[in-house]
């Protein structure tokens, strides 16, 4: 693996039953860069994050993360690797029996021997960064979806990891919080020198911060490059996606028979 790539995926193949999720997918995430992963719904973007994190084992191919092949790594090696990875889940995945502050303190308590005073200070700093210092004593069920996501973001960055993976970080945010989260992701990437991989459907926000974008569809990478390059890409599929056009080579509908035929068949029993 080239040293300048934090993640290198080669020949990735994965099937769930009969459904092909990845078919010979190749991808490189440069160290210290902010890379975005985009594509139509259901193309396996979240699954790809899970493959990178070693939670889903592919059928074939290699996935090197900071030099470790997660496909062949042992359980202990995977847990060691993950201490250096922060991940923001699409569902936030906050621990419901812990307060906001305890959630953010969780990775600090699990992996450091810092005194409680220092942990409390770090928690406040992380929560302040996402604008939720005042919500530290709330429980997750008292938070809105957007607030929960920001708490999850604070928890993901608690240990200042080398790799940050964000699954839909902008979903559910109001315009002010959206801008803050966007700048926070960008700042973290530059200040910490971290490598960031953002999965998002919010093209405008993602394009504004990403240095490189991968577009995946039908289990393959259909386009890659800097944002400006993709907007004017030769491929109509990529242009359609990047410009949010409903009509084009990427179908809006899940594969199905003709509507008239379907209706007539249902009516005739």
């Amino acid at each position: 693996m080239a040293d300048d790539n934090f993640i290198e995926i080669r020949g990735l193949r994965l099937r769930f039953g009969r459904r092909v999720v990845f078919d010979d997918l190749n991808m490189s995430v440069p160290r210290g860069k902010l890379t975005a992963l985009m594509g139509p719904s259901g193309t396996g973007k979240t699954t790809l994050l899970k493959v990178i994190g070693g939670q889903v084992r592919p059928d074939a191919g290699s996935v090197l993360v900071d030099g470790v092949d997660v496909c062949s790594a042992s359980r202990a090696e995977l847990f060691e690797l993950r201490k250096n990875i922060g991940m923001l889940f699409q569902s936030s995945a906050l621990f419901t029996d812990m307060s906001v502050a305890e959630n953010v303190a969780f990775p600090l308590r699990a992996h450091t021997r810092l005194p409680e005073d220092s942990i409390a200070d770090l928690v406040l700093m992380k929560l302040n960064a996402v604008g939720l210092r005042g919500a530290r004593d709330l429980m997750p069920n008292q938070l809105s979806g957007g607030m929960a996501r920001r708490v999850a973001l604070a928890r993901a960055i608690a240990l200042d990891p080398s790799l940050l993976m964000y699954d839909e970080p902008f979903t559910g945010q109001d315009p002010i919080a959206m801008g803050v989260v966007q700048q926070l992701i960008k700042r973290l990437n530059h200040a910490l020198g971290a490598t960031s991989l953002v999965v998002s459907h919010d093209i405008h926000e993602t394009v504004a911060i990403a240095e490189q974008i991968y577009v995946i569809s039908d289990g393959k990478v259909i386009g890659q490059g800097p944002p400006d390059h993709l907007r004017t890409h030769d491929s109509a599929r990529i242009r359609q996606f990047m410009n949010g056009q409903p009509d084009g080579p990427v179908p809006f509908h899940y594969p199905a028979d003709d509507l008239h035929f379907d209706v007539l068949r249902e009516t005739s029993g």
Partner: protein, 260 residues
Amino acid sequence: MIGYLRATGERALVFFGHLGRASLMWGNALSGIPRWNDLLLLVKQIYNIGVLSLVIIVLSAFSIGAVISLQFHTQLAKFGAEDAVGVGLAMVLLRELGPVVTALLFAGRAGSAITAEIGLMKSTEQLSSMEMMGVDPLRRIVAPRLWAGMFCLPLLTAIFNVVAIYGGMVVAVEWLGGDPGGFWIGMQDAVEVWEDIGKGMVKSVVFAVVVTWIAVYQGYDTVPTAEGIGLSTTRTVVLSSVMILAMDFLLTLSMYGDFR
């Protein structure tokens, strides 16, 4: 015939697949050196699983002890043998009803709660996020519940036996006017520490392992949907109950001598 064989083979594969995954889960959860934090998690689970089950155990034990005493007294009084109520009560409770009923109640209250809690954690990706933070959910979530279950059920069984005997005494002596000396001395003479109390507790330990294992595995392996969690919770109670009764028969057969 071929279809039947194929279906049987498929069922066997599914069964052994589950057994393998459950064994791996068990092994991974209980291996490794416990840390100070693990002890705190264990104490919390002992409270959730054990202390919170006390009310149902105590109430049921008192009622069951009282009912058995009443039935024994009614039958034995016909032969003028009311003093034997204490012996009969102790034997039935210590050898059979204590371990079995406590385990059944435990499966219904604590087992179902364990399955539902772990299942919900899975469906809300809490287990996945824990994994991604480099914290093993088998050590953090599963292990404390397994240890707590194995620790609490024998203790709850002991409490059940004591309360049930007290309930039986209240009925036989306080209410129906039996002789307290006969009640207690008969019990004291007949009950043997290992043969009756010890073997009953061995049953309880075996039931504890079986019930907590089933409960934790059903939660950990659940389909992460509302329906999946419901099914897993039901399966925990049904499977545990059947296993408790089947294991009780086998343990009684193997521990209590020659039945030929």
